[in-house]
Amino acid sequence: MRLDRKNFLATTGAVAAGAAIGFPAIVGAAPEPIRLGTIPCLTGSNALLGQQEHEGAALAVEEINARPDKVYGGRPFEIVEEDATNDNQSAVSALNKLLGENVVAIVCPVLSTQVQAMAPVMKTHEIPWMTGGTAVKNTQLGVPGMFRLRGSDGITGAGMTNFAVKDKKGKKIAILHASDAFGVGGADQIVQSLKKLGMEPVANEQYPKDAKDFTAEILKIKQAAPDVVLMYIQNPSDTAIILKQVHSLALNVPIVGSPSLGNQTAMEVAGKDAYGTYCAVDFIVGFNSNVATHFLTSFFRKYHHLPDVGTGSGWVYDAVYMLADTYKKQKGTDPKQTIASLKGIKNWDGVLGTFSADAEGNMVHSVSIGQNQDGKLHLVKKVSG
């Protein structure tokens, strides 16, 4: 064929049209990823918790992306992570940054105070907010699309109190708690539960944020001669130090604590000083579903250490899987549609148990009381709010 101007234009036009139509099919254009925001506290005094959240999310995404049957429309998950650090203002900055990153849902930090600080911004964006913050108020902030994937302090506080009074036959109950939103909120729940039983705490001590010595608070509790001490603490390192000091100051009464007493890191650091203590936790190894067993195995294989299932990685892992299931079922990632779907969640099996959404967005309605026996948690009983 002679190459004149007419032929040249016709040939190049045909090639261009063919390329425009066929190119994506030929090369298999990569599907657009589903961008999921996470805001763990990766630095500061709560970095232990944040690292666990990071690991839980990364494991879930890795598994989901490796299984085509779990991925909606062949679109892989992509995590966009910003550090919430240790203060509210930085958490809000991290959130504002994420909101500019085209994410379809956000897994919030586990610290309730940060969740509450972020609430004014959250209210202006209708996307799913998955939280592990247990302060009762978190789901009452008027944020559309807020879902809690752990038992609230209402359930935990009531469960701990009932266990101390009814099972441990406590008549003089003392409370030791952190002075952050988590600690104060939990202690308030305990006081309310005691009131319902016609009781008042014989001591109610709180320690300041970032304290490293708890002698004064423990000795004051000891002076009140309680027969059970209830502890409401978020930070695993605080928990470990307190348990060591309780032991060295010979406060020899049953201890019933919030989930941090069952935190893997806290139990390892406290060692023998934590033996015999009780805690209300979201999860106990050995009493779990196939989902939980798979999670534990995969987590250990990937990270070579055990997860802090309840406070750290388990709820984040569940959050990512729940979103993946929802996107697949509703055949889309539209945030408003996702919120509606999540509100309808019933009997969804996850690592932390069976999830069902109530009107406020609470998805977990019971916790377990476990006892630390030689460094391992053993189930004592299940309690609900």
Binding site: L42, Q116, K137, A181, V184, D210
Partner: protein
């Protein structure tokens, strides 16, 4: 004492008199204000605007600390507590009594100033690290009060639903709109600080900073001026606290810790402690630095720490001192060497 009538804007040893700056200085300031006023027209990211707003508010806190430490030489580690008092005063008045935001801001300033007076008076006999220890104690007590006075502060749950300011039906409910309130407040505070510095009060504070005994010997009422410095530092922090409360709409005691006071002190030292522009620069730099370093993930804290150490070691007069040195070097005439 021989007082220096010249204006010192950028460091204790560098005079920036009108004769030196010439007519170009007001023009430069006017251009800078115009550029700043146009910022929201070019920056549309809520993330960036929220950072700018917060940086401006922190600049006000640090300017207040600059009056106390930079001008008067009184070391305080309670600036976060004054910030908290301002924030809670404004938050309480608007959410409990239904006050509008504007008078609440004035009340927040006054409340923090009064507390500054109450703290400054008993601390008059103290100086140096003893004064620092006393202010640390005051800061910790304040945070404990905010946590435990639940009927007023709502305890650790914090105070929410704090309304944004409004003029008529125009509500300052976005970061872009709020920026103008912050900008006006920063400029007003900088002007007041500059006026203080150039008047008898500023020179008296400077004399006290350099040698209190000598200052007293020349007839300066050191007690009175030190109290004035405490009151002004409190008022600045109170205004900033109120601005922060109406920006974030939620406040909790966690934000007003000793750690935060240390951050404000570092901002001032890095910027240049005796300089108004240094206080602003230090606050802006140290608030933005962790954000700029976000891509480094958890390693950012190492780089941030190293950067702060390097700034303190290699820039003993702060950023403003460095800028001054550079300006002197580049503007020096060859025959002047």
């Amino acid at each position: 004492m021989t007082s220096n009538p010249n204006v010192t804007l950028s460091g204790p040893n560098v005079t920036l008199s009108s004769s030196k700056g010439g007519a170009s200085r007001p023009v430069a300031i006017a251009v800078l204000i115009a550029v700043l006023a146009l910022l929201p027209a070019f920056v549309h990211s809520d993330y960036l605007l929220s950072l700018v707003d917060t940086a401006g508010i922190y600049a006000i806190v640090v300017m207040g600390l600059g009056i106390l430490l930079g001008f008067a030489g009184q070391l305080s580690l309670a600036q976060a507590a004054f910030l908290g008092i301002g924030a809670y005063t404004s938050g309480w008045l608007t959410t409990n009594l239904g006050w509008p935001a504007w008078p609440s801001m004035g009340a927040a300033m006054m409340m923090s100033a009064l507390v500054g007076l109450a703290v400054g008076y008993p601390c008059l006999r103290l100086s140096g690290h003893y004064l620092a220890l006393a202010t640390i104690g005051f800061g910790i007590i304040t945070q404990l009060v905010l946590i435990n006075w639940k009927s007023v502060t709502n305890g650790s749950d914090g105070m929410g639903n704090i309304p944004p300011p409004q003029i008529g039906s125009f509500v300052f409910d976005s970061y872009g709109r709020y920026y103008y309130i912050v900008l006006v407040a920063v400029l007003a505070c900088a002007y007041v600080a500059w006026r203080i510095k150039t008047t008898r009060v500023g020179r008296a504070l400077e004399a006290i900073r350099e040698n209190e005994i000598a200052a007293r010997a020349t007839g300066i009422d050191a007690t009175r001026y030190k109290i004035i410095a405490f009151v002004l530092a409190g008022a600045y922090a109170g205004l900033a606290g109120s601005l922060l409360a109406h920006l974030t709409k939620f406040i909790s005691p966690d934000s007003y810790s000793f750690d935060q006071s240390v951050v404000f002190l570092v901002m001032l030292i890095v910027g240049g402690s005796a300089s108004i522009s240094g206080a602003i620069l230090g606050a802006v730099l140290l608030w933005f630095l962790p954000e700029v370093l976000r891509p480094l993930k958890t390693s950012y804290i190492m780089v941030y720490g190293a950067a702060v150490v390097a700034m303190v070691v290699f820039m003993p007069r702060g950023l403003v001192g460095l800028l001054d040195t550079l300006r002197t070097r580049f503007t020096r005439r060859p025959d002047a060497a």
